[in-house]
Amino acid sequence: MFKDLLKLELFPTTWCPGCGIGQLMIQLAMVMEELGLDHTNCTIISGVGCTGRLAGYFNVDGVYTLHGRTLPVAEAVKLVNPSLEVIVVSGDGDLASIGGNHLLHCARRNPNLTVLCNNNQVYGLTGGQAGPTTPRDTKTVSSPAGAPYDPVNLQNLMKAGAKYFYAKTTVYHQVHLRSCVREAIAWPGFAFVDITSQCIENNGRRLGFNSAYEMLLHFRRTYKRAPEGAETLGPYEIGIVRKG
């Protein structure tokens, strides 16, 4: 059972009811079960943020690193122990803002890591401030007149490398999410999975959603699968682009 991979004794989790991170946790546990990943062959590395707490709910060795420092830790772990499956799970602020320099250079060095980015478009843990992934004009506690800048384009950032794996999915599209995670784990280099997810408490309500369910329906309505073989994903397309 995939539930055996989770520390159910620690439930309820620290997350708000309806938070997308719970869905990501379940889907990851299902893929790990399917692939036979457990405490003998897998470790989860996460960084400070609501998302980072995920590592503590798995029945594998987990590391909750400093804010932004998942990738240097994970890359070193993989280098020391190449047979270990190293899965990084962290927030968009953690990976793309404070950890942005590591993202750039770790991707360039291309270690065999799977990086799952819970992209809720805000800093969840600290109260919903705007971050590098917040769409322009979005009102948040730190952008009361609307976010003034265009968000970072993670796909283009990843595709800047000679070799890359970039997947875009959402926590609503669970079958797709699982297949992205599976393929990312199978990919022999740095694989980045950009997972649109909901932070209902510190973002969704301000945007006018009454519940996490409404946010999920919004993901269903707005995100479409990219055409087979697409080399670039459109802004609301889910799929995988890669070059080995």
Binding site: T43, D61, G62, V63, T65, L66, P72, V80, N81, L84
Partner: protein, 348 residues
């Protein structure tokens, strides 16, 4: 075999003797030789892993990850890089990660004087990361000691489960002396904690209980943790209460110096008593008290504006004279001038 060895090289060779198999770093004078040697080692020995990191923040976190994965890991830097590593050093204290941080000091603050020696990181090493913590710090003053104390630093890290600092300076790091490192016997303590991928543990920088579960609002858990860490480090420190003391019954003055300054001060042994702490932190309180008690005047000579002097003063609860050697100039004439001025008598 006896041969000329450089201080930085001796640190590297000592690390290898201690069983180090992982280095991550970012180039910075006057420590870069260590990074280059690590790169060469990785090129000839596949068991030795090396990352030239994008910055010191990355390097510090990488050696933490490597340590958790089972490696004996280290990095080398200088003042500005050490400042960038501070948050990770605090993390290593919180998570109890053994690793060695080498700081080859240069003149600061900021970019300062990159190739000139200083001892200005005494305070940032003791108090530079957030929270309370009890770092173990060693400061050799010769090439042979660079080798020995590199091994000691790894051993102390292993025993205390903490990041240990090996201090050096541009002078000691670039000193060339004839030594036979192979003839130096120092026992290396093996890795103890099982590596990642063997358990169901949670390593977190949050305050946590013994099982690793975050306990972020429980003062009792915090106090228990801090007191356990403090005791743990003090116990290990006792194994390494290393210092050098040259008493002088005909003098009323004790000179305290360490690292390169102690080498420069050495010729004054006929006129003064000399004390040299090698374990810089935790301070050798008992030993300093013992050695200081028969002297009326205590002078701390250091290549900073009184950082250790202030701590010695607090320790002894006596007035301390301090002689600062600033701007990267460290020589006997400056020491004599400083002493003459501060002691109001001619020191020749």
């Amino acid at each position: 075999m006896k041969r000329l060895v450089q201080g930085n090289e001796a640190v590297f060779l000592g690390a290898i003797r201690a069983g180090a198999d992982f280095f991550a770093g970012y180039p910075i004078s006057p420590s870069s030789e260590i990074l280059v040697l690590a790169a060469e080692q990785a090129a000839k020995d596949p068991g030795f892993r090396f990352i030239q990191s994008e910055d010191e923040i990355s390097a510090a976190n990488a050696i933490i990850g490597a340590s958790l994965a089972g490696a004996k890991s280290f990095t080398a830097t200088s003042g500005p890089g050490f400042t960038l590593m501070q948050e990770a050093i605090g993390y290593a204290h919180q998570v109890e990660v053994p690793a060695v941080f080498v700081n080859v000091q240069r003149v600061g603050p900021a970019t300062g004087m990159p190739t000139m020696p200083a001892q200005q990181d005494v305070m940032q090493i003791k108090y530079g990361t957030s929270g309370d913590y009890y770092p173990l710090v060693f400061y050799p003053n010769s090439v042979e000691e660079c080798y020995r104390y590199a091994i000691t630093a790894f051993n102390a890290a292993e025993e205390s489960l903490s990041p240990v600092i090996l201090l050096s300076d541009a002078f000691v790091g670039h000193l060339n002396e004839v030594v036979d490192v192979d003839a130096i016997e120092v026992e290396a303590i093996p890795r103890g904690r099982p590596s990642l991928g063997t358990g169901k543990r949670f390593f977190t920088g949050l305050t946590h209980d013994e099982e690793g579960h975050p306990r972020t609002a429980d003062a009792a858990v915090y106090r228990e943790w801090l007191s356990r860490i403090r005791t743990q480090h003090e116990k290990v420190a006792v194994h390494y209460s290393d210092f050098e003391f040259k008493e002088n019954p005909s003098s009323d003055t004790l000179l305290i110096s360490f690292g390169i300054v102690s080498r420069v001060v050495a010729p004054l042994a006929s006129q003064f008593a000399l004390f040299r702490p090698i374990r810089i932190f935790p301070m050798l309180s008992h030993e300093i008290h013992e050695c200081a008690q028969s002297y009326d005047k205590i002078v701390v000579i250091e290549a900073n504006d009184g950082q250790y002097a202030w701590l010695v003063e607090r320790e002894l609860k006596r007035d301390i004279v301090h002689v600062p050697l600033l701007g990267g100039r460290i020589n006997l004439d400056l020491v004599k001038n400083g002493l003459s001025e501060k002691l109001r008598r001619e020191v020749v």
